[in-house]
Amino acid sequence: MAFLEFVDVIKEYGAVRVLHGVNLAIEHGEVHALIGENGAGKSTLMKILAGFVAPTSGEVKLESRRLQFSSNTDAERAGIVLIHQEFNLIEDLSIAQNIFLGRELKRGVLLNTQHMNLEAAKALARVGLQLDPRTLVRDLIVPHKQMLEIAKALSRDAKILVMDEPTATLTPVETDVLFEIIAGLKASGVTVVYISHKLDEVKRISDRVSVLRDGHLITTRETASTTQHEMASLMVGRDLEDMYPAKSIPSRKASDVVLELQHFSVPGWAQDIGFGLYRGEILGFGGLVGAGRTELFEALLGLRPRSSGTVLRHGRPIQIHNPRDAAKAGLVYLSEDRKGKGLLVDFLLFQNLTLSNLSSYAKPLLNQNAEQRALEKARDEYGIRTGNLAVAAKMLSGGNQQKLSLAKIMQLEPEVVILDEPTRGVDVGAKREIYFLMSALAAAGKSVIVISSELPELLGVSHRLIVMRQGQIAGVLEAEHLNEQEVIQYATGLKSNLGQHNPVNA
């Protein structure tokens, strides 16, 4: 008899069945990875376990006893803690206040702040964070927030810990810390369910791996005897072709420089950045989270203040104060924050698609038929898969949302396309499609800048790679020299090839 068992779990939302009778057994004290494409049902299954949603039919058994939670609080009391992919922290409260939210330690009727701060500090130490527990969550950087979520879960004495994409925002070093923590938890008898898209991590950390596809459990295997390639094929249900398109490195004559930054600085984030971007080039930007890559490009687009620097388009200086100026200059930016800055999730697909160049559909009244036709065209060109085009953007899967976002910025017919984490939260199949779309853009003479925290992806698509560290360019690598070790050495400061300053080649 397994420790934790899902028996014939079915979940329906209205007429849509998202889990088709899942049977899954998880052993006590194992690290069990759960993989599958977006929409496969992983999150739904885990939400049932953690009491957020009730199954339509079927049951979940813990040590042969049927679990019936009326809320997530019930589940946490039973020792089942789910760490969401999106943070569940209150920004205006301190670390300690967040950790003890809802179960504050008291002395009589008053809060025992001192005791809570002390305990919070211990919880932080467990995840390797050296932070004052009185720090406001607002002031933490994203990876620290992720570690705080884990500390919070640990302080709840979890028997079963479910982690949903915990490393999406972590640096390699922090990921190592997390894996040590997971190993420690396993040793102390905690059962861990680990959801991830990163198969290398699954391979590294898990004992067994289960694959979900379209709401069905496909298989559960020993991780040690399953290759990453097999996992990927099981997820998509067919053999995967090459993940990355072939690279055709463009010519780099001085006249091919379409965009150049000189001595560009963003207060607090980037100092004296200089580089040139060539026509038809895919230029990767690597580095650790917090290295200033997103901030650099947000400043370039006029979305945050910059202190100095010159921007040249085809050799002529231009002024960009806001995304409108940028669009006029042929520059577009796809934000890493798809829901917060990229798409209007409550709006219809066509309304999202045409938002940036809506005036071209106004004569002077909006021609919704033309907008509809543009959507149909974009669907075909960008492979946006949805049964129904007349839905809100939030109804699309992550990958399809991202393809819609891409189609949206391309509506402006830009020459320079800046993509920030274009495949975050996107499944393997859609990732590959996005890589090929990028390659097609470059082949059509556009220049693409891609910021990514996933090294394999950066190495796979970039013609040239700039590595940033602490707001500065640490190195510029040519495609033929690209390898992971080298990039990590630049990103962590072990190596630097930029003693001299040479903006165009930089």
Binding site: V345, A362, L366
Partner: protein
């Protein structure tokens, strides 16, 4: 992360009967049936046209408020603004009447005055909110106090009236006229509703207003000139108030500290009852029109059936607003 896969099905393509958008309309019909049963005069053309005429002024302001609320803002100054505009308009007319007399030019100057004051007020709100980065709530709460105080000062604590009775008779047709047998305010209300519906649903401005209310960050990143859209929304709201002023002045021919008192709440209530979410993002002009008529009808039914003292009218409206907000609380 993992969204349920959407299986294509026919019922998704057809918009479902959405209770939230028809609810107020159904409520209005029920209310009319009740009114007609309780008092036979309720359904008379005289009473209906009276209610609709009175609805028009607040209704026109509420149409502007719909844009503001959809964009995620709020304007608390409209009641004070109509008082100030009415006062200034009457003072200007008194001043020019001596030279221009009862002419078309006089009427034009009155109208332009009201529009000009509205335009300036709207720009002021828009700039303070966008460039000054102050909450709309604070800005318009402040200007509401300022406008009403300035009007009271201009009126020296009393009432500003037309100095010449000929001025009243010159403007009277603007409120009391009945082309095609329909009072002018109703026609203007109707026209404004049609224009606003077109503006909201068929123009870039309307789409941007909704986009900004849905997510301002996304709109900014999508190269929309967010500040300009917000400023124009506040100008549009203030111009709606101007149009209400132009209809209001002929009705009473006076302005005092009590003019337009509480209208901002009536206008916002009409918008909320009409199904526009206070948090912004989406809304319907038709809903606002129904909402304002519903509010006025409640008062009317209570009055002519003497179910409740007319002093308590605002209290009943307050209850209706809270009940509607309660019913809508789970949406989105």
């Amino acid at each position: 992360m993992s969204q349920p896969k959407i299986t294509p099905s026919t019922n998704l393509t057809k918009p479902k009967l959405d209770l939230s958008s028809y609810g107020p309309f159904i409520g209005l019909i029920l209310l009319c049936v009740i009114g007609a049963i309780l008092n036979r005069d309720f359904a008379s053309w005289g009473n209906i046209s009276n209610v609709l005429t009175r609805t028009s002024l607040v209704g026109i302001i509420a149409i502007g408020a719909t844009f503001i609320i959809i964009s995620g803002g709020i304007d608390l100054s409209v009641g004070s603004l109509i008082a100030l505009q009415a006062g200034v308009m009457i003072l200007v007319l008194n001043a020019v009447f001596g030279t221009l007399g009862a002419s078309f030019a006089t009427i034009l100057i009155g109208i332009v005055t009201a529009l000009a004051v509205g335009f300036v007020a709207g720009l002021l709100h828009g700039f303070l909110i966008t460039k000054g980065r102050i909450e709309a709530f604070i800005v318009t709460l402040g200007t509401a106090a300022i406008y009403r105080a300035v009007l009271t000062q201009l009126a020296q604590g009393g009432t500003i009236t037309f100095t010449d009775p000929k001025l009243s008779s010159l403007f009277e047709p603007l409120y009391y006229g009945t082309p095609l047998g329909i009072p002018v305010p109703i026609l203007v209300f109707l026209a404004m509703a049609l224009i606003a519906g077109l503006l909201l649903n068929q123009t870039t401005f309307g789409r941007y207003v909704q986009a900004i209310g849905s997510n301002e960050q996304v709109s900014r990143y999508a190269a929309i000139n967010v500040d300009a859209v917000k400023i124009w929304a506040f100008v549009f709201q203030a111009l709606c108030v101007s149009i209400a002023t132009i209809l209001y002045v002929p009705r009473l021919g006076s302005a005092s500290n009590g003019t337009g008192l509480g209208w901002e709440l009536e206008a916002i209530a009409a918008v909320i009852i009409g199904g526009t979410a206070l948090k912004g993002g989406s809304g319907k002009i038709f809903g606002t029109v129904v909402g304002s008529i519903l509010l006025a009808t409640i008062g009317n039914v209570l009055n002519i059936t003497s179910l409740i003292s007319e002093y308590l009218n605002p209290a009943v409206q307050g209850v209706v607003v809270i009940v509607v907000a309660f019913l809508q609380r789970n949406r989105k």
